[in-house]
Symmetry: C2
Subunit: 416 residues, 2 copies
């Protein structure tokens, strides 16, 4: 039997698009990791009728219902009274939850108000789930062989309760099937060509292994998902299919793991015991951000000069003033100078440089918006590439960062 879950996210801010729902993705990942598949995600506003509709829809399709949001201390929250009514209970104060509220306010040196203490009220028909990261407790309800978890919407608190209470409970109470994935990333080949190329492989896949295409601006991730009762059995069969897929696509594979481009580059840097620095004009620090978001990046990443202004390119990176004046900042000579500037200044083994026009303004006839020069190299060799991107500003920045990291990846593999 496969156990199915639904996720309900509550909050008006989701329906006017003011906030992007990351909670659902995190919950789905965590459930998937213990073999529970999510069949439905719903988002509704702070509205009694809509929340009840969502509960009815979710419970008709799943065994486990996870609700987040709508538990804050202010008056726009109607979830707790509604759940109380739905499960036929009465709100009572939970001693442990009350102590938790008081302890959090005491630590922060803030007085506890009556309103804060109402957070400790929970329906008497639920099991209170202690939220040590915040004042709103989680709640567990059971009804008609289905189980319901209500969690606060603050991502950090939701995540804590998933780890401390929800996952252990589900693990103990359900006979779970095993789900495993194998993911690879390809570059330089469009989704449709991959599909043509691996048509017979795909058609011959057994029913318990599914293939998904996840294209994203020049890169296509391919994911095999296997489901079964024995983890070793599933792993063996997945590995078999995955190695066949690898040999079919060997000329296009960037990475044969489920890792981001910056994780691939970080892995190579560590394997080669080398360091990296960046000189960013158009990416404006985004490459540095991607790299430094990874724990331990200080072992191989020394820093970046975000040379947004030409004066910074010249003064700190020693970019030729003549190049800036004649061919302009978005040019091959300038990104080459920027790579050399970083290698000299920061004394790193490798360097990346970017310069381009991200839009919406700044384009000219010869250098329209989307024109980007990237250079990567070490003290012996520098390679460059010019891209013509066609997205809006934010996406142009992101795509440039990924392309630049991919150019470095190739360089590191070929020039080690």
């Amino acid at each position: 039997m496969s156990v199915k879950a639904s996720i309900i996210t509550i909050g008006d801010e989701l329906l006017i698009g003011q906030v992007i729902d990351t909670n659902s993705a995190v919950i789905a990942q965590l459930l998937n990791g213990i073999g529970i598949s999510v069949s439905l995600r719903l988002a509704v506003g702070d509205d009694k009728v809509n929340i009840l509709d969502a509960l009815n829809t979710a419970e008709s399709q799943s065994d486990i219902i996870i609700i987040t949001g709508g538990l804050g201390p202010t008056a726009d929250d109607i979830t707790k009274p509604l759940l109380c009514e739905y499960f036929g209970g009465t709100l009572i104060e939970n001693k442990e939850a009350r102590e938790n509220v008081i302890s959090i306010f005491t630590k922060a040196n803030r007085p506890v108000t009556e309103r804060n203490l109402t957070q400790a009220l929970v329906p008497d028909v639920c099991t209170m789930l202690l939220n040590v990261r915040g004042t709103a407790p989680g709640m567990l309800f059971r009804k008609n062989n289905k189980v319901y978890f209500s969690l606060p919407g603050v991502p950090h608190e939701m995540n804590g309760l998933m780890q401390s209470h929800v996952l252990p409970y589900l693990y103990d109470h359900y006979p779970l099937q095993v789900i495993a994935h194998r993911t690879m990333t390809t570059a330089g080949i469009p989704e449709s060509s991959i599909a043509d190329h691996i048509k017979s492989f795909e058609e011959a896949l057994p029913h318990y292994i599914k293939l998904a295409y996840l294209p994203n601006y020049g890169l296509v991730r391919l994911r095999l998902t296997g489901t079964g009762n024995s983890i070793s059995d599933i792993n063996t069969r997945l590995d078999q299919q995955f190695s066949e897929l690898q040999s079919l696509l060997k000329d296009h594979i960037v990475s044969n793991r489920d890792e981001t481009m910056q994780e691939t580059v970080a892995r190579l840097l560590q394997q080669q015991n080398k360091t990296l620095g960046t000189a960013e004009s158009c990416t404006g620090g985004y490459i540095a951000h991607l790299v430094t978001s990874m724990a331990g990046s200080s072992n191989y990443y020394l820093g970046s000069v975000v040379s947004y202004a030409n004066s910074v390119k010249h003064d700190i990176l020693n970019v030729s003033q003549e190049s800036l004046d004649t061919v302009g900042a978005v040019s091959e000579p300038v990104v080459i100078d920027m790579v050399n500037g970083i290698l000299n200044r920061l004394k790193t083994d490798y360097a990346i440089a970017t310069s381009g026009i991200m839009g919406p303004g700044g384009g000219t006839d010869t250098k329209p918006v989307g024109t980007v020069w990237v250079a990567v190299g070490n003290k012996n060799k520098i390679v460059t590439q010019c891209f013509k991107l066609r997205y809006e500003r934010q996406k142009n920045i992101e795509v440039t960062a990924i392309y630049a990291l991919n150019l470095l990846r190739k360089f590191m593999v070929e020039n080690n």
Copy 2:
């Protein structure tokens, strides 16, 4: 009559949490902007039964159903045949869509395959919506007084079709109510204290104006939403309530617009005609990224030295080696040196510096994970602040960036 919409997002990747759903937020924002409220968002996998269930749920609750995803060229896409069946049509080739596919491949110098051309097939019962940004066309269906739009899942293409086809169609075909918002951001006061402070204001709000609290790590945004028939009427009433709210919270307001912290800082820089540079250790380029994500930022932002390694702090920013050796990089003297280093090197009017321990590793007894020093200033004055954060790495980086920008905002207001 208020017109209601539902959004259905299709794709297995959403249900295993591999991808965060940004499309729903964008669609919700766009609909909201023309007075259509979204009452439900659903996400389902590439599964026929679940997609049909979602269609049934959505159409029972709304007049307009917007579907994204599931239209790519590869075999895991089942949406188009399903819609064809659901609306009782037959797939036929659309000439305009075919020419669009060929034109896109010709421009990219790629051969057009049979598989690519299947993108031009659409149900004969739909109106084809030309997608100039990609090969998968949009589709418009009508049934039982309801209207359905099916759009590709690539954000850039979805957005293009919303603007070029969906919004104009809805605007022409529905008698729309007006929705308007007023948003302010507060700092330094918790959600529950705000709620206590403005209790009588909130209770006295008319039924057509709603108040929402949007707390986010130290900042609380407050949003008033008004609905009605006349935009001028709604604006007058909203402005009235909003100015009352402003006077109630005047000591805590960071901004009385719906703008991000970086937008507030950018606005102040432009008003004062001043420039900014940053020296980032623990934020690793994230402040630079936030600032340069805004179009036109080159007018006031010169750049950043992401001094992740101590050698970069010393060599480029002239941070005292003695301070680094004795009190360490995460200290007040070091962030002060970093601010001075940027002011001298980049010749900016203002500078921000950050240094901290973002985790999960690197903490000590005296400087646990989450310890952050921030300095901001100009050539006459520098102010510093030490924060003790308690989140995971990524969130620590984001929160530090926002706190640092907020510290600069205060400094700019007080020291202009």
